[in-house]
Every structure is written in C-alpha cells, then in structure tokens.
Symmetry: C2
Subunit: 704 residues, 2 copies
C-alpha cells in the first residue's frame, strides 16, 4: 500500500460514518458508538439524510456537505446505494473507504457487477477500498474501532487480519477473556481492492506490531504475496491459519467467499518459500502469537526442561522429539552444581526433576543453573501443584530470571486450575507465556525454531544457467500452437528440455521398418521403439512401446508390431511415425514434474520414479524459480534420497547432476509460464560423475 | 482383582490411617482431614503411637489395638517402618493396603529390596497393595478421599488411573475449574502389586464408571493387559495417554519409575488390538472423556455441520476430511426444507450456514431438519457471537433437541469468551460437550468413531492351521541350542518356516564344487549359491552369494569364488558348506518379520521388501496370534498394497497366499516364544493363484 493510503486507514485525522443511525441495535448505530467509545481523537462525521444529530454529533445528509476534509469513510448502507455514495466520497477526495455493506460478489452475479463498479469508482478517484462485506477495522494504537463488533481488545502488539469476519468477532471476544492485546484487527471481506498482501505490507511497516496473524481462505496475488511476505518476515513473524485445506473445505470456502481456492500443497509450498509459519488451529495461531510477541528467538538448538513432576516432563520430552527439537545435554559443571544444590533423589540431567516438594527457591536455583548453561537456549519450566508447591513465588522467581536472561526464551507450563491461576496470570502479564499443558508449550517452541531457522538462512538467489536456448523452445511451442495442439509429442517435449541443457537419449523418428532398423544401427543397440502420435497418451498400454531391441531384425519386427497393435487398439489415432531411441542403461529411476498453480505459478516436483511414484508418493515440491539450496532440499526431503546416497555399500548416485536437472526444469518453467504441466518419468540417475538422463517427457501447454 | 479386594478398596466399611498426624501441613494430617471431609460413612481409625486423639477421632498406637475389623489401611510413615506395620495389618486381617510412603524401588537397590519384602508380606496374608510411592485413591461414589491431594473432584462418571501422581494432582485441580466430575482417581505409584490391569478390571465392573482414562508410562503384564482391556472395552471406552513414547521420553520414564519401558510401536499395536483409544495429550484425554460420558456412540458415518459463520465451518470441514471422517450428504428433502425455512443467502448443503444474523429459532429449525435426516449421524453445531446472536437461547434449543434425538451425538463449538461463557456452561451441564475451537470437537468425534468401529467388529479368533509340524521345529531349535548358537543357519531357518507350511526354494548343502554342480543339475537351472556359516551375517557384502548361475561350469566357478572370497574377507569364519538353491522366478518383493516385544510378545511385521524396506519403511504391525482380518489389514495398510492389487493393468498378486504366509508366521511365533526375531526379506509373491515363496530367512533365538 502506498503510505498515504496506509495513513488514511490506520491514522486518519477524520472519519465519516455513512449510514450512521439513531436506532440502537442497528449496524450504523453500533458503528458510531464504537468509533466514539474507542477514544478516537479526530473529527467524526455521521452521515444520514434523515437525522440532525446522532449520539451527540452533528449529522450531515451527504458527505459533500461536510465542511472539512475527510480522510476515511466507512459505508454501512444497502449495497445498491453504495456506488453513489462512493462517487460522492471520491468527489470529496476521501482517501480510503471501508465498505461494511454486504450484497456484493458473495451473493452472485448481480452483486459481482455492483462490486466491479465500486472498484472502478475507487480507481477513478485514487481511493483505496477495504471490503465490501467486511466487519471493518480496529486499531488500538490510534485508537479507532471502525467495526460493529461489540468488543474492543486491549492494546497490544498483535496485528490480526481475517478473511472471515465471524471468526474475527469470535476471536475478539475470546482474547478479551484471555488478556491478549491487539494492535489491530482487519476484516478483509470480499477483497475487491485491498487484500491480505496490502495489509501484510502495511502492518509490516508499523513498528508497534510485533507479529502478524492471518486467517485466510484464498490468496489471489500469489507471487506478490511471496514477495511481500518474505520481506516482512525478516522484521517480524507472519503466522497463517489457512481455511479450505481439504477438498470439501475448499468447496465450502468457494461458496463462502466466491474466491478461487488453489491446492493446499501450493499454499504450503508458498508459505515455506516466504518463511511464513503455518498454524494448524485458531488456538495454535494465538498460542504462537503470545510466545512470539513476548519471547526472543532462540539462538541455537538445545531445550532444557525443569519440572517438579516426572509425568509432564516425559510428555514434554516425547513431543520435543516427535517435533524434531533437540533436548540440550547439560554441561558437567551444570550437572555438578545441580547435584550439590538439589536433593539426592532429583534428576540432574535433562529433563531436570526438582521433585514434588520443590518450593520456589529450589525452582529458582535450578532454573538459574540451567539458564547459565551454554548448551541451553530455551527453557520449559513445568509446575504441578503439590503439597509444598509455591506457585506464585515460583512465578515471581521466573519473572526475575527472565529479566536477567533476556536472550533465552522461557516458556512456562503451570498445570492445574485454581491452584495455579494467579501465578499463571502473573507470568503472562510479565512476558512469560504460560500454558496449562506441556504439548502447547512444545508446539509453540517448535514454531519459534522454524522462524529462527528462516532468519538464519542467507537469501539465495534463483539459479540461472546461461547455456540455455529459449529461442529453440519458443520455436517448438509456436509450432505446437500452430498445429492447434496443447499436448507436445514426445520428441518435441524432449527437444524442449534438451534446449535447457537436460540430457535425453539419442533418437530419430522413423517412418518405415527399414528406416527404423537403419537408425538403430546408427544409434547403437540396444534400442527402444515408441509410437509418435498426439492421440496415444498411455503408449505402453496399447503396445506402443517395445524395449531392449538388440538387432536390426528385432527392430523391424517391433516396428511392424507397434503399428499393428495401434491399428487394432486405436484405429483412428493419427500416427506421425515411430521413435527409435538408443536405450539408456539402468540406473536409479526418479521423477521430475511441474504444474502451473493458479495462484503461485510453476510448482516443481521431485521424487522416486517408476512404478513406485503413484502409490508411494515419495515426492517433494518447491515453487520456481529455484535456488541451489532449494533444489538440494527437494532431494533431501524424499526418502529416496537414502537410495541416492548409496545404501548397503552401493555407490552413490550423481546427485549433483540431478540437482542441476531440477534447477534447469525450474528455470524453463519460470521463463515459459505457457507450459501448463510436465512429467519426466523417469529421470535415470547414474553413479557419481556419470550424470542423469530424461526418459519419457510429457508436456502440455495451457489452453489459452 | 478378586471381588473381595475390589470392595475393600472401593467400598471399605472401615479405614485405618497409619501415620495420621496432628500437625497441619503433614501428609498424615491432610490424609486424615481428607478422609473425614470426603464424607466417608464407615469407621475411621487414626493410628499413631504418640497421640490420643486426632482431629476429633480416637487414635490407636497400633492397628492391632483397633477393636473392630479394618477393611483398608493407608500407610504414610517412613519407608523403613512400612514392613513392620504391613505385618501388623496382615495379622489384623486387613484386606488391602494403600502405601503412600515413598523410598522404595524409585530410589534404587535398597528401596527395591524393601519393596520386594512388602510384596512378600502382602502375599503371605492375602492382602493386596496399592503403591508404594503413590498419591492414594479417591472414590466419589463411596465417598472416600484417601489422598493427600488438596482437592476432591465433583461426583461424575470418569474413572482416572495415573502412573504419575503429580499429573494426577494437576488434573484434579484442573477439573475442579472445568466442572468435570470423577467417579474415581487411582494413583498407581510403583505398582509393586496392584497395577493398571487390576484397576481397569475393577473400574470395568463399576456400573457408575462410564469411561476409564489412564496416564501410563509402562505396562508390565502386556498380554494380560490386552485380555482385560479388550473385555472391558466392550462395555465402556478405555482411553490412554502414554508417556515415554519417544526414546528420550522413555529414558526419562525409566529413571522416573524404574520400569522397563518397551517400544511405543508395540504399545500402539497392543492398544489397537484391545480397542483402547490413544490420546495424544492430557487435554485430549479429557476432551474425549467428556464426550464419551455424555454422548451416544454414532450409529454410522455422516457428520453434519451447522454454523453461523463460514470460516469456522470450513476449519471443521478441513479437519474432518484430514481425519478421514465423512461429511453427510443431506437428503433432497432436508435441503428443500432448509431452503424454504432459511434466508436465500444461507448454505443448505453440508456445512449448513444459517448466516451471521441467525437467532436461536433459526438454529433450532436447521438443527431439527438436519437431525431428522437419516444420512446424518453426528451433528457439530458452531456458533460465533455476532450482533443478532442469542447464545443462551440457542443453547437451550440444543438441549431440547438433544432430548428428542438421543441416538445422535451433538457436539457444540461456541467460539468466543464472555459472550458465550454462560451458554457454554449450560450446554456442558446438560450433557452437550462444548468446545471453544472446532478442531477439538472434530478430534473427539473421530475418537467416538474409532470406538464405534471397534464395537461393530465381530470378535475374530486367531487362525490355527493344522498342517504344521511343531515337532520338526522343536528338533531344529534343540539342535541349535545344543550347538550353543542363537543364530540359525539359513537352511535351518528355512526348515523352520517350511515346517509351518511356508514355501521355500528347493535346496541342498554342497561341500565341494562337484557336489554343487551335481545338485544344481538335480534342482534345475538357474541356481543361486550361498555360503553357510554361522559367522557371516551380511553374506552379500563379502561375496558369499552368487545369483543366476545357468550351467554346471558356472556353478563350479562360483563355488570356488565364494570360498576364495570368504577366505580373503573373513579368514576365521567357520564354513559349513555352500547352499545350492533353485532360483525363484521374479515377482513382487515383500518382507515379513517378527520380533519378541518384552511386554506384549511376538510382534509381526509385513511390508514392501527388497532395497526399499530400509528407507521407505512401508510396513505394518500386529501382535500374534493373528486373526484372518488382522492379516488382511496388515497388507491393506501398506502403500505397497496398491502394487499387490495390480497397478496400470498389471495382474494382481496372490494376496491370498501372502495372507496365509503372514498367518502361519504369527502361529509359529506364538507357539515358539523362544524365537527372538526373524526376517524373511524377501517373500516373493507371484500372480493370483501362483503363491509366494520365502527367500533369505534370518532367525535368532532368545539368549536364555
């Protein structure tokens, strides 16, 4: 968002409420009341042709009658009247609109037309629009409550952007009970103009926002989202809960917002690329937010657990391991000190068990020793209420220690209800997140580590090979288009990948059995024959492929056999000839694929190929363009990587060549978005230094 | 537990408190106070040689001085004095002891000796013992609070058994705040005598207990656990949270209770076999319990979601699909009725969106239509607080509907804090579980379905083939033992599985190159040669195997080559000869394995074999003995099953023969627990009707 518009939304000098009402309970009444009660310091102009005064404020019959400048107007009148008042706002040089009114795209075609008109008006006057069909906007910093939600949250450092208004209201109500403060709440509505990308950008600029949370069902500007989010994430964490991850959920989301919902896989890959943290539930979204706003990012691996009870310590340990978090090995010195200062029955290795009769002083003693240990970078402190337990004094001790060890996150788990309630509140108020169950603490620490890892990674530029021939690819694609086809023939697809430096087997197209056997002699035996036809997709199934031919005689017979078989199975198929390939020697069979995602562009796949690909699904994904580490990670993420490294004494495969092939595929599809999808199944990889080769390349262009 | 002991613990007529104290804050004081305040109606006898009266009750210096009979004694005195008072309790014919005192097995060798002595005393007098090192027992039904925990829960239908006392205290404190009622709480402590099996059995008999929850770190009597739990589960659900599921957690659990913790895999398999539900966190344990105690088990698939907000409905839909739960397709009639009764913008297919302005009457209308639909068997009702929302009236409507549709579980999700708090409490009190987030509702419904599925399965007896030769196996194993070996030679292992009706390739042991080539002629080419030596485990790695020999000449050369290679790599290896096998034709390569689990006995594994087994880990497990459906499920659970069914037009494999091989393996190891582990990698499966064959059988006996 340009800064001027940003200020208009988040720091307006004056606000007009179009559709302000004198009738309690009406949206226009609640809106006006909320603006006033939020303590907004600028001018407030209620607009309503049928009133002189609303809630003590002078009312105007049109925004054009307001004598002073208006920065921001909120519109809450029936949809059909919205375009007219938007026009008036434009004439009045209002900088931004918040359109609360429903009855636009979400109700169907008629509403969509109305919405398009509204966007047009905004463009004409350079006026940005939030909504329509949204709940509005809260900004506790200005302060300004421009919603018809009943509750205004406490001031805090969380910025929350929601594509579901109702989820937003529920959360606003919930956070009030949980003492969680917000900087801002933005309801996106139909996203006719301003969308999540604009608001991530805007909240990224706000120094008071420490963490940005989103509930999203769809992202339309996928590539822009990645750009903006990656930039913002370097300054503050962005955590997203994605609705519509299942096919049924996506259908429901579609009917709900009218947005085109892409595959969750593409979203997940995009979030990873941008360094965005994915939450799995509303609760997790806020649990993460609380920890992120209050605790530092851990400097390195190594979690220590300090507990007064074995069971919960074990549960925390179990989950840490399950989530791939490493427990710190305490130094000999720390263990010695703990042994000296704790009772004999205490466990002095990690998890440290200070025993059931630990009072506050024993907790503080153990915590300090553990925090001092250089192997420890995060501490989880668990307390269960037992006979001797001093929960409040223990909490005070933790707050004191937190002040002295600012660099190491402390997360508390105080289990129980009444006995720990006060202590838990004390911790939360003093910046130590406190959960009732160990699982929540560990999950949120895992998210902290995800973020820390992202911050540590250097920015890796996409790899661009120079020895590529886009002109050659252009030529082939143009010819296919001229031919009114979208499916490339095998040799065309092979020529495309070859133009980008990917090895394919030597081959020739033969029109006769004689030609085929002659080519076979030239290419060298053994050879493979494969039918060339735009109509035969599954060539093996109809006898269109014959492998391992070792003589001219065998080639001749196979050629005739293929034609006979096709004539029988698919008599109407157009046949362009039979391809003769030098048969590649055996090696490890991998797959490299690509499909264009509607939102995020080319999604590249790598994995175990051959007959296993369909049922084992041992594959990984990244969005093009690819950096060198991304291509490497793609290989490493698959289970097949163990095979490539060489198992049980077998020699390692040429993963270097394979990585370059993945990178070249990424570069090709980034440059040619008109290629809709591609499969190389399989890529055969040979031993280290011996390269790899692409067999059976399938490629399809986008329809338009 | 025998019934008389059960009554002694859960319905004692009189209780002695050995170590009762007059000093506030001491365990013996709190215990006495808790017994009195719990409202226990029987006689209470404080025992303390230094007091005349404790908390208004006459005190005795020894239990032998008590004039009346004593059913149950709780002991809370230093460990070293426990044996003596236990002796006295025995003489007094006390029926059961609850030993709260710590200082036994958990502190090391000395304590373990003391504990063994205590168990001995119990045996001598036929007196059962709970603990030592436990928190005691609460029974809200008698009522009796025999713990030193500060809080007594409300009366309810949950029975909770915990191996961690502190986790128990924390939970007791937490449930008080959450309005969750308990029937009983049992702290297991060191499980010197009574263990989880006894208490599952006992609570299984209690009609007032609707669900049994456990926190466990270890199970010692694994097979007995499966027997008892399977029986109890038919009457009421048993839900377990298992601590020590990770290797680090298991180490911590080991140091914590001194118990031998087995592999989580074996536990999980045992829980599945017994129909026990596994919870993943303390919170989930209780969320499940609340739903199980208050709602019926669903009759069939088909969940309907009714919501006043799109977002949360989508989140619920996403998670349902992720957990494999099917959303109901509403009947045409239901959809028509909904269309007629709801506003035009409402969604009338599942999830049903009653829109943000829905009042209580609209919720009731939609809920009734949905509940009436025969495709719907569970309803999740979601409410977010919006301007028109009537949360309390909506809750009342739900309670009314729940009364009329008793057979269909209703689970509520009322999101928010203050605005929904009262309504949420109303629902909970009237038997409708109410959560703040959709995820929790769906997870708990998934557990309900797991239980429903288990109840529907017929009990399947283990399969016992009659054409097996245990005598032959006995003979081979005895010979191996005589030979002071634990590793079987290949041909011995093959003979063992062959005796149980599993096909192996024809073979002979040759002592010379001439003999080898003669045998090869007899067996038929191609053949495989393999070294026979107790010292060579990885035969391929040292040149001990040669495949695909097609002539007498090749066999002769290979024989000499193998001996030369072994002489070079492992000059000290004992060589018993070279095995000549008829080489099995190619087929699908699977693996069948077995290992003896310390707690649960023979754990049978099935999966994809060959080079893929180690890195793809596409395997499934069941505990022997196996029923026919279990063997079938083992195959179906693997991804490789798609391969066995035949993919892309390939013929299906002989899964019938494979299933029988798995069953025979299960029978063999159930009968011969002295076989410690076994691997058949691979079992080659041929086309349907062509059977399968076991290649390369490795088998080891247990050490003792």
């Amino acid at each position: 968002m340009e800064n001027v518009k940003h200020d208009a939304l988040f720091r307006p000098g004056s606000v007009a409420i179009i559709g302000a009402s004198r009738t309690p309970g009406k949206v226009g009444y609640i809106l006006t009341e909320n603006v006033i009660e939020s303590g907004f310091q600028g001018h407030i102009y209620p607009i309503n042709p049928n009133a002189e005064e609303i809630q003590g404020l002078k009312c105007f019959s049109s925004i054009l009658d307001v004598p002073e400048e208006v920065d921001l107007a909120v519109i809450a009148i029936p949809a059909r009247h919205v375009p007219q008042v938007a026009e008036e706002c434009g004439k009045k040089s209002v900088k931004a609109l918040v359109v609360v009114s429903a009855g636009f795209k979400e109700i169907g075609r008629e509403g969509a037309v109305l919405e398009a008109g509204l966007v047009e008006i905004g463009r004409k006057y350079g006026m940005r629009i939030q909504g329509p069909n949204c709940l509005g906007l809260i900004d506790t910093s200005t302060p300004l409550n421009l919603t018809f939600a009943t509750a205004m949250p406490e001031k805090g450092r969380i910025g929350f952007i929601s594509q579901s208004g109702a989820l937003g209201t529920a959360v606003l109500d919930w956070v009030l009970a949980e003492d969680i403060g917000f900087h801002s709440f933005v309801s996106l509505g139909n996203k006719a103009d301003l969308d999540e990308v604009d608001f991530i950008d805007a909240l990224g600029e706000e120094d008071e926002v420490a963490v940005i949370l989103l509930y999203l069902e769809s992202i339309e500007r996928g590539r822009r989202f990645i750009e903006v989010a990656s930039r913002v994430v370097e300054r503050k964490p962005v955590i997203i809960l994605k609705g519509g991850t299942s096919s049924a959920g996506a259908r429901a989301a579609g009917s709900h917002t009218g947005a085109l919902v892409g595959s969750f896989l593409a979203y997940k890959t995009a979030f990873d690329k941008a360094g965005v943290i994915l939450a799995e539930s509303v609760e997790e979204l806020f649990n993460h937010a609380i920890t992120f706003t209050r605790q530092p990012v851990p400097m390195a691996e190594g979690i220590a657990i300090v507990t007064n009870a074995g069971g919960p310590g074990i549960l925390a340990t179990d989950l840490s391991e399950k989530m791939g978090l490493r427990l710190a090995g305490l130094s000999g010195e720390t263990q010695n000190q703990l042994r000296q200062g704790l009772p004999a029955a205490a466990a002095t290795s990690n998890p440290v068990d200070v025993l059931g009769d630990a009072r506050a002083d024993r907790y503080s003693f153990a915590m300090e020793k553990v925090l001092r240990d250089s192997h420890v970078n995060v501490v989880v402190v668990i307390l269960t209420p037992q006979a001797m337990t001093e929960s409040m004094a223990t909490a005070e001790g933790l707050v004191e220690l937190h002040g002295r060890f600012r660099g190491k996150p402390i997360v508390a788990v105080f289990m129980g209800g009444e006995e720990v309630g006060e202590a838990s509140g004390h911790l939360t108020r003093h910046g130590i997140p406190c959960y009732a169950f160990p699982e929540k603490a560990i999950k949120t620490i895992s998210a902290l580590y995800d973020y820390a890892r992202f911050l540590k990674e250097p920015e890796n530029p996409p790899v661009r090979f120079r020895d590529v021939r886009p002109d050659r690819v252009r030529e082939i694609l143009d010819r296919v288009r001229e031919d009114r086809r979208v499916v490339l023939l095998s040799h065309e697809a092979e020529a495309v990948v070859e133009a980008y430096g990917i090895s394919v087997p030597d081959s020739r197209v033969a029109q006769s059995a004689d030609a085929a056997s002659r080519y076979a002699e030239e290419l060298g035996f053994p050879v493979v024959l494969r039918i060339v036809s735009p109509d035969v997709l599954h060539k093996t199934d109809v006898g269109g492929v014959v492998l391992n031919l070792r003589s001219a005689e065998e080639v001749r017979n196979a050629f005739n056999g293929i034609l006979a078989s096709i004539a029988r199975f698919m008599p109407r198929a157009r046949i362009y000839g039979v391809m003769v390939y030098h048969m590649a020697p055996r090696g490890r069979e991998m797959i490299i694929g690509m499909s264009q995602d509607v939102q995020f562009g080319p999604l590249v796949m790598f994995g175990l190929g051959g007959i296993y690909v369909n049922f084992l699904k041992d594959v990984s994904f990244r969005l093009a363009p690819l950096s060198e580490p991304e291509a490497r990670e793609m290989m490493e993420e698959t289970k097949a990587y163990a095979l490539l490294k060489g198992i049980r004494g077998e020699p390692p495969s040429d993963t270097e060549a394979l990585k370059n092939t993945i990178l070249r595929v990424g570069q090709l599809f980034w440059y040619f978005p008109e290629i809709g999808d591609m499969d190389i199944n399989h890529v055969i990889v040979y031993g280290w230094g011996e390269g790899c080769i692409a067999l059976d390349v399938k490629m399809t262009l986008t329809k338009d």
